[in-house]
Symmetry: C2
Subunit: 187 residues, 2 copies
Amino acid sequence: MNLDNIIDNIYPLPDRSKALLKERIYEIAYPKATILFRANRIASKVYFIKKGIVRAYANQNEEEITFWFGKEGDAVISMKNYVEDQRGYETIELLEPCELYEIQTEDLRALYKNDIEVANWGRKFAEQELVKIEERFISRQCKVAVERYKELMNNDPDLLKRVQLVHIASYLGITPVSLSRIRAEFK
Amino acid sequence: MNLDNIIDNIYPLPDRSKALLKERIYEIAYPKATILFRANRIASKVYFIKKGIVRAYANQNEEEITFWFGKEGDAVISMKNYVEDQRGYETIELLEPCELYEIQTEDLRALYKNDIEVANWGRKFAEQELVKIEERFISRQCKVAVERYKELMNNDPDLLKRVQLVHIASYLGITPVSLSRIRAEFK
DNA sequence: ATAAGGAATTATCAAATGATAAGAAATGTC
DNA sequence: GACATTTCTTATCATTTGATAATTCCTTAT
């Protein structure tokens, strides 16, 4: 996923503002299983995924609960870090070797302060992430695991192929055994 | 909850920008049971709660699933509306007679375009809402109903007193009967 | 090609939750 | 204050889900 597309999909920037932003963004590649963010640590970077797939999980009672998958075009970010300079609860792990776009949070903040276009880009960025998580939240709250599995099958069949069943099960809030039972019904 | 506090808690604005914003905000009161937003409708307003308590619910299989409570100081907003001009999935109902601060989405957007301070205020607003919903999401994903009930007891005991058990149960994702059983254990 | 290790499925049983209904408590109304 | 209505609790039973373990399937390395 191309950097210009990622930026423009959030909010189309005039050339000058876009140049300011792109000046601060670097490309970087990491191998599978790299940890991008670690729970309870301060991090100061924001990533966008050019290529690859990642998962975010939280530790709860000795268990890893997966609550998000990111793939091409998605932003990888520890919100508590980014927004409040506080320690995040999530660990983010690469499930495949990944190519990423990286920017320092402080660079982003400096741009927000000085360029109204970038400030509005940052606003749209937060707003879009907000809508995304709200949709996941509603789905989590209103639908049972089977329904959410079907939803995933429709919206992102690719993901089901690229990600291990344990993680999908955790994401759906059920055990891998339960997910297997659900799958067995659709044959 | 005072309007100045609400605004400043999001992001302290210089006087001039703050005046621009406040110029567009009106106070209004509604009786209990008023519907502020209706699912699948376009709305074009944003509210902040001065006094009172509200709930947001989505309709799922003939059932109302409560997924949010708002009280003094909280923003009442249909995100899909506000962000994307799309129909929201939520209905928002006043559980008490409420006093509200109201602003038109289009007025807010005009300010974002023209004032970098207000643009950054809007960014912080979205970011803070994002962190709030992320916390609820993680709690929903990682904790079972009992734990989340305890969490609610600690963080917002007031809410438990002001809101009916059916709604709390729905919010926790269990039946009222189940919630009663949970309550009975803490006596 | 085959062996070894990891991942997914299936089976069995125990535990937790839901549905339904009936009773107790609280709230509102006249 | 007493009745009616709503809300909450308790009880019983059926269903669903989880835990554990055994088996099958798939991937990878040599």
